[in-house]
Symmetry: C2
Subunit: 106 residues, 2 copies
């Protein structure tokens, strides 16, 4: 689903990645991380899709919320497992959403 | 591929969408728009993936480049076709990338 985010400004964390062939534990931990992110203070929404590359965008109230989530202990463990096992490469971009607009077919 | 973008700051346009069942002309025009975007002044990179939703992120030098691309005549036609035919819903977010970091398995 397209995330229902509030009026800008807010922040986006754009996480783009390529996967290794290692499947063990990936889906479970990825789902768990989304569930855990959702209950963090300042979490606003999440969008994700994967084909040749994966793009996951999480939305946050401010940089402090992003910093806290980055340092979450269970998340730190998952980040370590991701680097060691699941990801061939990734790039994380922290961006301030200044404007947005949307369209829904009636 | 993960886009090779320069040092921040730069801009990201995060385009999240859900599709209709209309397939006619979609792939051709979508590809053409990526090719056309690539030759616009200020274009820095592009990433895309689709599953339940589609996420396309294009990267730009500044807001002026984004404004010019939005007003490009061929792109305007494609935007109109997208609204009328291909997209059930979409959300566009303009965001300033303030920081990024990356990882590549050796």
């Amino acid at each position: 689903m397209i995330a229902k985010t509030p009026q800008p400004p807010y922040y986006a964390v754009i996480f783009t990645s390529t996967r290794t062939d290692v499947k063990k534990d990936y889906s479970e931990i990825a789902e768990r991380m989304v569930d855990l992110a959702k209950v963090q203070p300042g979490f606003l929404g999440f969008e994700s899709a994967r084909e040749e590359i994966g793009i996951s965008v999480s939305y946050w109230k401010d940089l402090e919320s992003i910093g806290n989530w980055k340092k979450n202990l269970e998340h730190l463990t998952a980040q370590k497992m991701g680097k060691e096992n699941w990801y061939k490469s990734y790039k994380t971009r922290i961006a301030k959403v200044e404007r947005d607009y949307e369209y829904f077919k009636v």
